[in-house]
Amino acid sequence: MSAQINAAETLLSVSTAPYIKSEDTVSKIMWKVNLALAPAAIFGVIYFGVPALINIVVSIIAAVAAEYAVQKIRKVRITAFDGSAFLTGLLLAMCISPEMPPYMTAIGSAIAIVIAKHSMGGLGQNIFNPAHIGRAALMVSWPIAMTTWSTIKTPVDAVTSATPLGILKLQGYSELLETFGGRSELYKALFLGMRNGSIGETCTVLLIIGGLFLVWKKIINWQIPVVMIATVGVLTWIFGPEGFFTGDPVFHMMAGGLIIGAFFMATDMVTAPITKRGQIIFAIGAGMITSLIRLKGGYPEGVCYSILLMNCVTPLIDLVIKPRIYGTGR
């Protein structure tokens, strides 16, 4: 009897034919994600102008070229044009400043593909989100260029060249409200994307539409983005600047790269846990680290590092959270 159970546990059970072939291929999924990102990227180009367009184009070309070159050198099948390198390049460009010198963007893009993706074994093998590794490498290499933002006008005609989170970190919340002319104006600016920041992270509404499109197409689960954003909201509300429950969760949920990070980076199929329960743990962890860095850390924004840090523990989460095998004990 026990031998039978053992056999049932170790053997992979395969049902009999016929099978349904899934419509989704890597390439199709990747192009859908690119499509979901497109509105926010186009908005970034319109809002920040030519430098943003140059950075996006350079980043994508560098990523595809790096992928092509590495696959040539590794003598594996060339899949540089399947949309995945395109996606890495686009995502990287969307989370850096529009004022970034393009050659630095290209280096970051190449680092993302060569070091973060192909050194680990290529598509599906990487431990960390490639675009975020590229961003982290750029942040460490050229911190000044990475934190030089465009000069924009706020609704009350105040000229600023800092991001909302940067103003919050250095000058405080009241200064932030003053710059944008009140709380509702601030929320409106964040929601519509009329604020400083990385190329593609500003327009909350378009990013959410893109994210919902992916949820509808069943490419991502709603759990990761919703739980991650909610965790940040709750924590920043509780640990406010003037004691408990004085924070501004709405601002924190829309500011910085949280929306794009939660919908498009944390949900990366390769680097997030497989099970839904695992994904929720992952999202809570990422939200907690983001809040910690924003409220107590040296950097104004922490989405990139929080997702990279949670990528580290993804294999552990998958090891601990295993779906129960049907027919075995709880």
Partner: protein
């Protein structure tokens, strides 16, 4: 003579302390931010490893195996103290730059490893050449890493500006992650080279 040359040579590439044995990575990460620092550290370690190999080899038949490690460490510590005092007296600036890492030479894995693996089992002259070879390999590796890191991380070599004002130094290269990446890729490159060499040898054998 040829034998001694072989003992010397193996430390350079085939058993390079950093790239092949992967011992003493701590100094390779910490003090290779500039060529001068890397070279000084390399020479210091070369001196310590050679002198220690000689002294361990001399007393190898007198030491009870049970207490050999404390004995070796005492010998290394004596030599390191000597190097430290010399550097402090004649190159105080470098001494300051290297800081704690100079004192840490006492516990570098590579030095104890050579005493244990080679000097305690061989005569004085081979031990001398083993230390010299390992030290040279260590220095070579340190200088190579130092050149690349200083060039990319500060745009200079030995303090002279090589890459002009147009180059915006990539700070990652003078921070620990840059060193980890660089050493990782260099070890990887060496492995590819070795695999190719071994394949060629097999093909020659097959014919």
């Amino acid at each position: 003579m040829r034998n001694l040359w072989n003992i010397y040579k193996k430390g350079l590439i085939d058993e390079n302390p950093i790239f092949v044995l992967a011992l003493s990575l701590c100094p390779a990460l910490a003090v290779t931010t500039s060529v001068v620092n890397a070279f000084t550290m390399g020479l210091s370690v070369m001196f310590v490893i050679t002198a220690n190999n000689v002294s361990v080899s001399l007393i190898r038949n007198l030491v009870n195996p049970k207490v050999r490690v404390p004995v070796y460490i005492t010998s290394i510590a004596t030599i390191v103290t000597f190097v430290e005092l010399v550097l402090e007296a004649f190159a105080p600036l470098l001494y300051k730059e290297l800081g704690i890492y100079l004192a840490l030479v006492v516990v570098f894995a590579i030095i104890l490893a050579r005493a244990e693996v080679f000097a305690s089992k061989n005569k004085v002259i081979p031990s001398f050449f083993d230390g010299l070879g390992m030290g040279s390999g260590f220095t070579l590796a340190m200088v190579i890493i130092g050149v690349i890191r200083e060039l990319l991380g500060s745009g200079t070599i030995l303090g002279h500006t090589i890459l002009g004002a147009w180059y915006n130094p990539a700070l990652i290269m003078i921070l620990p992650p840059g060193a980890f990446l660089l050493i990782g890729y260099m070890i990887g490159g060496l492995k590819v080279y070795e695999a190719k060499k071994a394949k060629k040898l097999r093909e020659v054998d097959a014919q």
